[in-house]
Each structure stands twice: as structure tokens, then as C-alpha cells.
Amino acid sequence: MTSKTAPDTNFNIFDQEMADNRHAVFGELRGRCPVAHSDQIEADGFWVITSYAENKKAAHNTAVYSSRYATLPRDMFGEGHDHRPPLTLDPPEHGKFRRALQPNFGPKVMEVWVPEIRQIARRAIAEFIDEGSCDGRSQYAQRISTGMMLALFGVPAEAAPEFEHWLGEIVESGDMKRAEAGAASLYAYLDATVKRRRAEAEPPDDMITRIMESEFGGAKLPDDELVGTLVMIMLAALETVASTLSSILIHLATNDSDRERLIAEPELTPTAVEEFVRYYAAVVSAREANEDSTLGDAEIPGKSMVLLCWNAANLDPDAFPDADKVVVDRAKNPHVGFGIGPHRCLGIHLARLELKVGIEEWLAAIPEFELSEAVPGWQQGLVCGPKGAPLKFAPGGAGAAS
């Protein structure tokens, strides 16, 4: 099948050293071989794309680069669990899901959640501000992404601890058995919730009910697909925002001028959020080639796995001047940090608000802060963010100053 005699690279998203140095690794690959064959992960390896132009071409060419398998390895979720709508659908089937889901995720729909995000952020800060230190990831960024998701899905307060436990087992345990047990509990809970709501005359108006009642290509989703879709949406909302907000906290802890600028000019925050999403884009997305194809200079055989690297695209100097620098007031910034093509992040408008409010509330309470120790490495896999954000500041934060 493959005419290659030697791989171009041993790039592997599960390699710790590469995760810790991904900007340099992407830069080296992009300069030498922007569509490169790696011999890692799958038996026949996979193709890794590091240029802006080729990532865009591949994302837009859904006829050739299919989302049938959207993870690397293909069987990441285990055999028989690889159908994850809408993630694993191609047009036109994907469009039925997008048309049903998108209206629930628009900017105005999400804007009403800003006060809730603010409350979650303030409650999180109140718990550690007198300590003078925290892990910005687990104690702040994750609290916002998880808390907001629970609110959006109408999970009652008494169920929240259990829910958070399952989500933690799935996304953080790093243990396949524990992750599967957590996923099974989550499925069972959502399945029971959906069945209960079907029997209610007036189910609560939240994301679960709205998606339950949406028409997917003229029909409601059967329960198993509905629950699978809900789980997919939940999981997609957690690590992505938590990783990016953690990256931002570390950035602001280590770049005084950017931090001072956002405090002095808070109206810049939405622009800065786009720049942070460009520079710290956390996600890579996989595709499977339907047929033999040419991308850049590479001849990609059919059935090959192809990895779209949004972060690598965003750091391409051919697409962005000073691509390797964070420019918080970067005006022209067509970044692909939320992905592009039909699979662009469904929760884009919520994610932006969580990042914006997360920055605003942190800086209002804790304008001065720094790293308390070195960042404990970056996560391997499909979502790459700092494993922790060890931060220290004056106990009491802004209230303790002057």
C-alpha cells in the first residue's frame, strides 16, 4: 500500500517529550516536511499536517478525508465504540446533526450564561484566595468548564459531585478500566434522565430537553444516539476549555506586560482570547483517507489516518506574522484553533465566553500572580494543555494589596 521506505518522522501525540515541546516539534516538521508520514500509533503509521494551508485543504476536503475515524488511534474508544455522532459523521449526514444542534449553541443563546460563569469563577476563587496559592487548572479552569457544563445540562446540585467524579474518571484517570466505568455511569444517568423526561408533561428547559426535542433530518433521535450525542458534547466541553484557560493563566503569570495590558485595557480581552486560542490551541483532529490523494508534496494512500494539527497551523509563519509570539492585540487573526470545516467546535461561542469571563474574574481578584513552581508538563493525546498551573499570589488577592 505505502510506497514509503522510511518514515519522515517518529512524531507521536502520546510522546511526553514531544507534548512538552510541541511548538518546536511542529516548527521543525513544518519547515522540513509539512505533510509528513510518521511510523507511530497505527500499524501503517499516519500522516501529520503542520502547515496552515494543508490543514485547511484537508479539513475542507471531507470527500477524501473522512471523519469516520476522528481519533488516533482509530479505536481509541474501544472496539464498537467508534461511532460518536456528530464527531464521526461526514456531510451530508453530519449536517442533520449540525442543523439540530447549532441553534442551541448560538452566541446570543450562550450570552445569557455569562452571570452563571461569573458566579462559578467567583466561587472557585473564594475557595483558595486566602491560601495565596492554587492549582489554576484543577481549582479554577476545570471548575469553570465542568461547572458551566453541569449548569447547561441542568444537572441538579445534589448529583453534581457524582457527575464530576465520573467525568474525572473519564478524562483524567488515565486508566482505561476506570474511564470505561465512568462512561458507563454517565450513560446510565443520562439514559435514565432522558427516559424520565419523555414521561414528563413539562420537562425543564435545558440543553438535554432541547436536544431531545430537536429534529435531526426530520426525526427525533432514538435514545441511544441521543445519549451518545449528549456524552460527546459534554466531554468535548471539558478538557478543551480547561486546557486553554490553564495555558492562559500560565501565560499571564509569566508575561507581565500582557497581564498589565489586559488589566489596563479590559476591552482587549475578546481579541486576546482569540490570540490565546491561536497560540495555545489544544486539539488535534484525525481523519481517514477514503482514497489515494495528494496533499502538498505528499502522496497519501487510501485508508491512511491523517492528523490535522490546529496548533501547528496557527503557528505557521506563512500564515501569521510573528507567528511564534503572543500578540494580545493581534487584529488580523484567522486562526483555526476551534477547528475549521463542518466539524468546527460546536461550543465555540460558549468557550469564548468561558475564557473571557475566566480571565476577567481572575484578574479582578488576583491581578498579581506568578508560577510557584515549574509547569508539570503538558498532556499527551488529542487534547494538549498543561497538566497543572501552580500559581502563587498575595493571600487575599486584590483585597490584600495596598
Binding site: Q102, P103, G106, P107, P270, E274, I340, H349
Partner: protein, 69 residues
Amino acid sequence: MRLIVDRDLCQGHGRCLQAVPELVIDLDTMGQPALENDGEFGPELAAKVQLAVGNCPESALSIADGGRP
């Protein structure tokens, strides 16, 4: 001048809404721009519209000279 949206390419990132809310007044239920005045704009908005065009990650936006035919 007029802002043109390629509705096959647009995926609803909303960057145009950020850049020029005077012209892109909302996103529709599919996340695509709802345009004031059918996308026609005057020179006072030209810089903002150019930024919207430049920031669209899908390259779905362009500017046409003149108003409606």
C-alpha cells in the same frame, strides 16, 4: 461596497460578528451572518469589514464593489 458571504464555506465561527457588528447584526440559527442592508456598507465601515474578511478562518467572506445590481 457589499459584503458577500459564501454560505457553503461559512461554518459559523462568528468572527465577522465580532469585527463589524454594525453590518453583521446577528448569526442565524445555523451560525451564519445575518446582514444589515443586505451586506451593503459605506466607507466608514470599510476597515472593519476588511478585518472581518481577513479574520474568517474559512475564507467565506469577500467584498464586492458597488451596491446591489
